[in-house]
């Protein structure tokens, strides 16, 4: 038994959902209780998908246990096939269904639907989300991909991108560009964008580009063995890695290496004088193994930072990450315990964190700037704009996003000069961030902002007395105001004062507060 507060990865069936949701024409029948349907919101809310994930849950209840959970599964599978008519199905159990041992795979086989039905065995009490994605994709490939005649033009499959992946959508575009500049076409991108029939023709590619080892390494190895397709080992994140990737691809595909660097700006931006202030900034790096390792190289060799700590939460990549950490002369932090990561950060006192949304929160509390480099991420890390991590544009994006949380070069000098000036004091934070002063570490935190809050958190409370100049708050009203959730309090205060001024009232009572509230009700 392990006490857990926040988790970096969901359970393995969420990994399977990421594969299914990225694909087309595939449906996942999951033996699970109703509460497990929460996972849909990861895709519809955090990733803003406009379709429900192609997942049907059996939603068995206590009264079904011991009697007909198996029948419920069979009926759900039948109904799902008839309603959605997918090209193929995957079936499996969530943590609870694993305990009741109904064997979804076996039942599906007995039913004998006219389309491929692929059973998944995902041990919920041992493994996690990335394993679930990797295993699911591997099972799908193993079941559907067959040796095929190679395409006439040299082609590659891009493997690894899934739903809910960090910038996977844009990385695909970037890698396609890198390949096509070398005259290599793309056969299939999978799981994201692929249908089961696309998977079936993956054997026609000459090689595979393994974009994310976390989600596709097992499939890559299997295809290397069974379909004779070599796969790339370099993940093209950063300038150096992109150049290495191009060289690796050229060698595998036996073509001339070619990289169009006309749009590449990171090197010059990094050399330009304003960047001098980046020199030796002490950074702590944490994320999934692939992104963390790529970030370490960019941080040291391309930004001129000093890497003071490096870690990942997925044990699958622990070995290679340890090796790299050693080469960088730092301790490797391999853990999925958020509190431990926090302790390490506190001890190292870095000037910047490159991490996940968890580290962003740690950074907020400790007053350390943080840029997000890896899943898990929140809704704002699925930006509307094109924002890859890989390739040429990816490198440009890295420069911008890593520098953004920091105080700019010239500004930093001003800060030192006017340290005591009220506008420039240390806690003010970078001038281009409205109200991003580091939060005090506290008491368990202020009131939470729920996932679904309608309120605008970016309406910070005004502490000055801009409006309140000539109206007085009676103490009862002031007390009442404090009860209003902090993220709307500022607005309530201003509205009430404006209202009081409008009405020629000089003292604000509880009644004035609510009169004003009614007045502005919308």
């Amino acid at each position: 038994m392990k006490l857990t507060v926040w988790t970096y990865e969901g359970p393995p069936h969420v990994g399977a959902m990421r594969v299914a949701t990225g694909m087309k024409g595939l449906h996942y029948v999951l033996h699970a209780p109703q509460g497990d349907t929460y996972a849909d919101l990861l895709f519809t809310m955090i990733e803003r998908r406009d379709h429900r994930p192609p997942v049907t849950y059996t939603t068995f209840q206590a009264r079904d246990l011991g009697s007909d959970t198996a029948d419920l599964f069979k009926k759900t599978l039948q109904d799902t096939y008839e309603r959605f008519q997918p090209e193929a199905l995957i079936v499996g159990a969530s943590c609870t269904a694993e305990l009741i041992q109904d064997d979804p795979g076996g039942m599906a086989e007995n039913i004998g639907l006219p389309v491929p039905t692929i059973p998944l065995e995902l041990p919920s009490y041992q493994r996690k989300e990335n394993f679930g994605a990797d295993e699911t994709f591997f099972q799908i490939v193993k079941a559907l991909a067959r040796p095929a005649e190679r395409t006439a033009q040299i082609s590659a499959n891009l493997i690894g991108p899934t739903a809910l992946g960090f910038r996977h959508r844009d990385d695909i575009t970037e890698v396609i560009t890198l390949l096509s500049d070398m005259g290599i076409s793309v056969n299939v991108v999978a799981p994201m964008t692929a249908s089961p029939s696309d998977i079936a023709r993956m054997g026609a590619a000459h090689f595979n580009v393994l974009m994310y080892p976390e989600t596709a390494e097992s499939a890559a190895r299997w295809m290397e063995r069974e379909l004779g397709q070599p796969y790339t080992k370099t993940v093209p994140i950063g300038v150096g890695a992109t150049r290495d990737f191009v060289a690796e691809v050229a060698k595998i595909a036996e073509v001339a290496p070619y990289l169009d660097e006309s749009r590449l700006r990171l090197p010059w931006y990094s050399k330009s004088v304003d960047s001098t202030y980046l020199t030796g900034k002490r950074v702590f790096i944490f994320g999934d193994g692939t992104h963390a390792m790529a970030a370490a190289r960019v941080a040291r060799d391309e930004m001129g930072f000093e890497v003071v700590g490096l870690g990942c939460y997925n044990r699958e990549l622990a070995r290679s990450l340890r090796k790299l950490a050693k080469a960088y002369g730092v301790e490797a932090t391999i853990t999925d315990d958020y509190l431990e990561v926090e302790r390490v950060i506190e001890a190292l006192q870095p000037e910047m964190i490159l991490g996940t949304q968890m580290e962003r929160h740690i950074g907020k509390r400790l007053g350390i700037p943080c840029a997000v480099i890896s899943a898990p991420v929140h809704v704002q890390d699925f930006p509307a704009r094109y924002s890859p991590q890989m390739g040429i544009e990816g490198a440009n994006v890295l420069f911008d996003t890593w520098v953004h949380p920091l105080v700019m070069g010239l500004e930093e000098h001003l800060l030192h000069m006017f340290r005591d000036d009220f506008e420039f004091h240390d806690a003010a934070g970078p001038s281009h961030h409205g109200g991003h002063a580091p939060a005090a570490r506290g008491d368990g935190g202020a009131a939470p902002r729920p996932a679904a809050s309608p309120r605008d958190i970016s309406d910070p409370e005004k502490t000055g007395s801009e409006v309140g100049g000539d109206v007085i708050w009676l103490s009862d009203a002031e007390k009442e105001l404090k009860k209003i959730p902090f993220f709307v309090r500022g607005k309530a205060r201003r509205n009430t004062e404006t209202f009081a001024t409008m009405k020629g009232v000089s003292e604000i009572s509880v009644d004035t507060l609510y009169e004003a509230k009614a007045h502005y009700a919308r």
Binding site: T4, P33, T59, L339, H378, P448, A452, S453, R522
Partner: protein
Amino acid sequence: MTELAPPPQSTGCRNAPILKQRGQREVFCGLTGIIWLHRKMQDAFFLVVGSRTCAHLLQSAAGVMIFAEPRFGTAILEETDLAGLADAQLELDRVVDELLARRPDIRQLFLVGSCPSEVIKLDLARAAERMTERHAPSVRVLNFSGSGIETTFTQGEDACLASMVPVLPATDERQLLLVGALPDVVEEQALSLLAQMGVSARVLPAPRADSDLGIGENTLFALTQPFLGDTHAALERRGARHIPAPFPFGEEGTTAWLRAIGHEFGVDEDIFARATEAPRARARKAIAQASDALRGKSIFFFPDSQLEIPLARFLTRECGMEAVEVGAPFIHKGIVGPDLDLLPEVPTLSEGQDVDLQLDRCRAARPDLTVCGLGLANPLEAEGLATKWAIELVFTPVHFYEQAGDLAGLFSRPIRRADMLALDGSAASPGQKYPGGLGSGPHAGRP
């Protein structure tokens, strides 16, 4: 202003047929309630005994809002715990000892059962008893189930409050008890309205464990949330008596709710009128402003929080909406009966869910507004249906007079937004080709 509402002539929807379907349910489990309960009970810790899925649900439902150290966590069962049950009890002792050592501020600990802990029959009641002895008197340990096989969304709060009732001390005092976890600002408004009527009240859950709240045969209780069926039963077992009333949403609901209490406590009409007149007028004004966009619009409720019936009553009677379907996970007539009495006839009243069939009905009805869970909202918006996320209704202050306008506003905002945006007819639409010509993109429609 002082008129007593005439007893309803028709029985509204109380005896209307209820559509019951059994299929996939798209709702959270009771663990979700921990997100708001832990904020409400300031010395309580909620320890879920479950799986990684349970931890992930809590995190996703909390919007990944990370506190320094929140007062909830999950003891994740591992292979070794599943092998032998004796071990699991010992393991739980160990986890709790560590937890309490690190958090000396904790006075109440809730062991929260999940699907996995229930399927393996891990006896949390026994564990709670043992731990209460071990950690008395500084910490009281209780247990309840928030599992998805036993509870639906708000039923978690119900199970939690119900678990607290048997351990309340006995009292013969004649008293009013308000039951339900409300945001502080709302709770204090309720108490102050009642005080002006000359009625003093206690609240369950109390913010701290050491409050001297007792219960007995002279306790009358009023529910502030419609999903408290088990708590209702537990209170009655202790001899307390329920004051049935419509729920305090909107001007009408709040007045009827207060009046039912006033009636029991012999509050005379003048005093009642004096206490309620001004806030009633404010509420009416605020609702009138906020419900402009709602008049004549149709609404469809997917089952979620059990607030559906009282809210449908408010929206139809006070905001001029027309309900097409009102779906609730459960319909407990002893509790929502008074709201059903007032609810104008709706074409479909449904209990439970087969989400695919219900989506078919929703698409056929094309309501102006659909109230649904987070998993359905964006997909329905993409089909051109305006939606309101149901979960917001339990996170936001919406009860009583001063929030009546806000409550209407929650529903009118999506409709006003849909009217404001001038985006359709532009080129951007879902289902564009994915860059690189690889078929449709990640957000494109599937067959």
